[in-house]
Amino acid sequence: MALLEVKDLRTYFNLPEGTAKAVDGVSFSLEKGKTTALVGESGCGKTLVSYSIMGLVPEPNGFVAGGEIMFREEDLLKFSFSRMRSLRGKTISMIFQEPMTALNPVFSIGNQLIESLMTHGTGDRVGAKKRCIEMLKEVGIPGPDQRFDEYPHQLSGGMKQRVMIAMALLTNPDILIADEPTTALDVTIQAQILDLLKKMQKKYKTAMLLITHDLGIVSENADSLTIMYAGKVVEQGDVKTVLKKPSHPYTQGLLRSLPSMHSPGKKLYSIPGVVPQAINFPEGCRFRTRCIEAKKECENEPSLKILKNKVKCACFFRK
């Protein structure tokens, strides 16, 4: 039984030009202690999926138009505003892409950490402070006692992301959403942060939704994988199977565009064109405008079907 199950999620945006179907029928599930990766180019709607789970879809233009997000046999989308809020930060936590701006510059780190504990009514201030310092130590921040009273600008980017991780895990959540947690960091720091996330996940048995565009990170950290293109899932399955033998033309393109250790000196492949704007996604298969295999029948909408290798794929030409 999955811990969290997203079924046919649709999140739309009302824009002056019309309705943008930024997330249009996305399904996947999270399991306890496992990592699910959500992969796609920027603009494919993967961040919006995480906002939908958190109940943070930007208002007033964005809204969830349909689908279910089942958590412990209840639909999160049907939760009242205040009930959703009591879940947020306690049962479901989130880490953001930009550690530089994600922390409030005018409050001390300790203040922002304690706030999270106090809101969810876990104990007194003294106990909360103790817990925060412990957590800071656990995420590998040297001198947590002094750091507790420092302000975000006094920390480096990597340190800030560690604080964000500490903040997210303080309340021992069931689900952790990590939205491109390492994109804004240096390569050397990236590995440290990912290792830390892995370690913490193992320790707290958290289910993690890892949102990224980096297939390298996915192969090392995730258990299952969902690949999104233009608001739709194009391929879904076990990480090893998908990455070893990708089925969908888009996944194949993504993998071919990764630099390889085995064939140095070869010109790198790139998928032609860019992700279309959410306001004018093409009819039918949304990838057909960039797909090298596109044919007439791609103007019809492909459905997600299970292939022989148990991978789900949305393409007419895969069996």
Partner: protein, 349 residues
């Protein structure tokens, strides 16, 4: 005699050229894809459309009041210049009364020879002048002051702002020194002092307002230029060996243009208001020119009269309020479209 014609033609031409130039610039900008998009977005806001219509209406009256021809009187078989007659006066020629008359009053002291027997829709003032006509005339003063002052400020503010922001160091120190010294003097006091020295007059007022208000524009342009200077496109232009002159005017200027546009439109209403305040202090336009400031100033004691004389101030105020409101709304829309910071929007997904 010819010189009077030339004088009037030149004046009319000047206004036509300025307005034509403005229209031409907008049309040229409309050909650019980005600006075309901006204009389209502005046009999609209803309040901007209404404001634009109102501003055009005012501009039309301004134009009518700016195109003039000389009027001569035959004295002893010689043509003697009487005054310049504007198109507005041709269309609307109210009679002059002896003193106050209420709104909708019929012409009473009409010159026998004058055929038109009409009414004063907004009454007359203490001197018997038609209030509506004065309000119409006030449009010309407002646009002249707003427009001419903007024409004075723009080159100074933009040039020094760009130079200071782009070159930094000595140039920046000098420019900031000059404008922080000017900014240090309370604006209204400096205006008063300048007007005291220059004397009353529309041109003098424009120069005085220009001296005090180029500072704001310059400061904004400087700040924005400093931001743009460190952008990649400037760095790459420099790496390609382009001259400073070319980088400043070809690359940076178009990128600070939107801020210049917003600032000057929103400043326009401030300038119109400044005229009113200075006219009250007796330092604005000369009292014989009909301006809204002078009308409001005249009406100070009128409200305490019995029966109350309210039409002078109400007319002047309405004309002024509608113009300033339209300019503010229009400027606001432009700013909302051009400056993404003020837009109410959610997190980008």
């Amino acid at each position: 005699m010819l010189e009077y014609y030339i004088n009037d033609i030149l004046r009319s031409l000047f206004v036509l050229v300025i307005i034509g130039g403005g229209i031409y610039t907008v049309l040229r900008m409309n050909r650019n894809r980005i600006w075309h998009d901006v204009f389209r977005q502005i046009w999609s806001v209803p309040i901007a459309r209404i404001s634009f219509g109102v501003i055009c209406l005012y501009l039309f009256v301004f134009l009518l009041d700016s195109i003039s021809y000389p009027l001569f009187k035959e004295v002893n078989k010689k043509h003697v210049f009487v005054n310049s007659r504007t198109l507005l006066e041709v269309i609307y020629t109210p009679a002059r009364e002896e003193s106050y008359s209420a709104p909708m009053a019929k012409y009473q002291f009409t010159d026998k020879k004058m055929e038109n027997k009409g009414i004063h829709p907004a009454g007359t003032n203490i001197n018997g002048e038609d209030v509506l006509m004065n309000a119409f005339k006030g449009i010309k003063v407002a646009f002249t002051i707003g427009g001419l002052t903007t024409l004075i400020i723009l080159p100074i503010g933009i040039f020094f702002g760009l130079i200071a922001g782009y070159f930094g160091k000595g140039a920046d120190t000098t420019v900031t020194y000059v404008y922080s010294t000017l900014a240090c003097i309370p604006e209204i006091l400096l205006l008063i002092a300048l007007m005291n020295i220059f004397g009353n007059g529309v041109l003098q007022l424009c120069i005085a307002l220009g001296i005090t208000s180029w500072v704001g524009l310059c400061r904004i342009v400087r700040g924005e230029t400093m931001k743009q200077k460190n952008m990649e496109y400037v760095q790459s232009a420099r790496a390609l060996g382009q001259s400073h002159f070319r980088i400043i005017f070809k690359h940076i200027l178009p990128n600070v243009m939107h801020i210049i546009l917003i600032t000057s439109i929103l400043r326009f209403s401030g300038l119109v208001m400044a005229e009113v305040i200075l006219s009250y202090l007796g330092l604005g336009v000369p009292p014989e020119i009909a301006s809204w400031g002078i009308m409001i100033d005249q009406s100070r004691g009128e409200l305490a009269r019995d029966p109350m004389v309210w039409w002078n101030i109400i007319t002047a105020f309405s004309f002024m309020f509608i113009l300033i409101l339209s300019v503010n709304f229009f400027g606001d829309t432009i700013r909302d479209v051009l400056d993404p910071r003020t837009r109410v929007k959610g997190v980008k997904a």
